[in-house]
Symmetry: C2
Subunit: 231 residues, 2 copies
DNA sequence: TCCCGTCTTTGCGCCAACGCAAATAACAGA
DNA sequence: TCTGTTATTTGCGTTGGCGCAAAGACGGGA
């Protein structure tokens, strides 16, 4: 079985239930692609010809509006698929995929992934479930940004990031990849100034510790309270 | 071929490419379900046991947050599927489905729809495309509510509604089903007061005409300008 | 080691939009 | 026709968070 970059491809949710032979055949059709920190796998409005699976690193999907404002659509962790626009009925990518750290992805032609989905129903059903989860998350975030205060949204964003990528440290739980205040602002629909102020306040009250592109949650429970009860 | 309620089921995007026999067999497994205006097909947090296709009428999918705020996730037109949470990997519905006018849906057991998706790859690929479109719309709205002013968001919402359900009248284009100011507020992440003020202003400048649960776009072009250029 | 680019913090003024309140207006059912 | 319920409009005070501005920090590369 393939095991590139120390990552067990059998654990990928998209491949769950796919038998070993079929998986090997599918992997044989993929090629590897790397992006160093700060570069992109593809840009918004590029023709969507491929689909990808992140093997190592971390990327963010960013949409830019006509007036220059940016929104982070999603942070992608290893094992997650991204850039599937073509298979999902779009001809161009709706956002850019920027590597937050040096990253590696497996890349398929959209056409061969389409035929794989058609040939292996379990793949298609997995894809539907994963896409459903993404849709639910997008709708949750929509509800949050439409009805909740910035502070609460930032709390939720931090908890989401910690859930996706928690790195335990002596003092608490660290977000496992570099996140700027700007990134947080672009996920929550706020300005980096407001985010900075909120984090500073939380640092004062001992909820977290922050430094350059680094955030350690010292008291996730209190963040949960802020996120849920609105305390 | 089946043709319930004057609606051509062969035109449903989900069924595109499915052969007649298979379609008939699939339809045979569905049962009809009706909901009068104001009632719901299902409620948020109900066990998601079925999946549905709207045949006639119009429904809105509504999420309620813990503090009572509501958000309209989507307006569903005839021919569109809704309530697929189970197939999409959720055990309960993430929102309620309320009939805005008397409505009729076809309902399948989630399990039989799952096996249909597995048996007919074209169905699964169609579902992926439709779901992809919904995801893109959710992400677009997320970007809008995170970065744009209320006025522009309302303009966009009206144009979306008109695109989904335009009824031409002598004077202009009418939204084809009853929409309250509250509904508009809940799709745009604003208050009904702000929406009312904005519509009043537009009525003054001749862009649209509004009355109780009714909106006629007299000048869609000027709305487009408001939505795009921020004029 | 120094320098320069990137990231972060903090202050201050302002305004878009909310929250509250109260007066219509329109429809549905008795 | 009357009455109760649901929608809509409009006023007014408040404020959360933005926009602008400027001054630190941190860290990587030469």
């Amino acid at each position: 079985m393939d095991n590139r970059g120390g990552f067990d491809l059998r654990r990928v949710l998209l491949f769950r239930g796919l038998n070993g032979c079929d998986l090997t055949a599918l992997l044989a059709k993929a090629r590897q692609e790397a992006a160093v920190r700060g570069s992109t796998f593809f840009n918004e409005c590029d023709d969507a010809l491929h689909c990808r699976l992140l093997v190592a690193g971390r990327i963010k999907l960013v949409q830019t509006s006509t007036d220059g404002n940016q929104v982070v659509t999603r942070f992608v962790a290893p094992g997650e698929m991204f850039g599937w626009a073509q298979v999902l009925g779009a001809s161009v990518y709706p956002g850019s995929a920027e590597a937050m750290v040096d990253s590696v992805a497996l890349t398929w032609d959209a056409a061969s992934m389409r035929s794989a989905l058609a040939a292996h129903p379990v793949l298609a059903l997995n894809a539907l479930e994963l896409l459903g989860a993404r849709l639910r998350e997008a709708q949750d975030r929509l509800r949050e940004v439409a009805t909740e205060r910035v502070e609460r949204r930032v709390a939720r964003a931090l908890l989401r990031l910690a859930r996706q990528s928690a790195r335990p440290t002596g003092e608490g739980v660290e977000i496992g990849f570099p996140v700027t205040r700007q990134d947080l602002a672009e996920t929550t629909g706020a300005t980096l100034h407001t985010v900075s102020r909120i984090l500073a306040a939380w640092e004062h009250s001992g909820i977290l510790a922050g430094s350059r592109q680094r955030i350690v949650l010292l008291h996730p429970g209190r963040l949960e309270t802020l996120a849920e009860d609105g305390g």
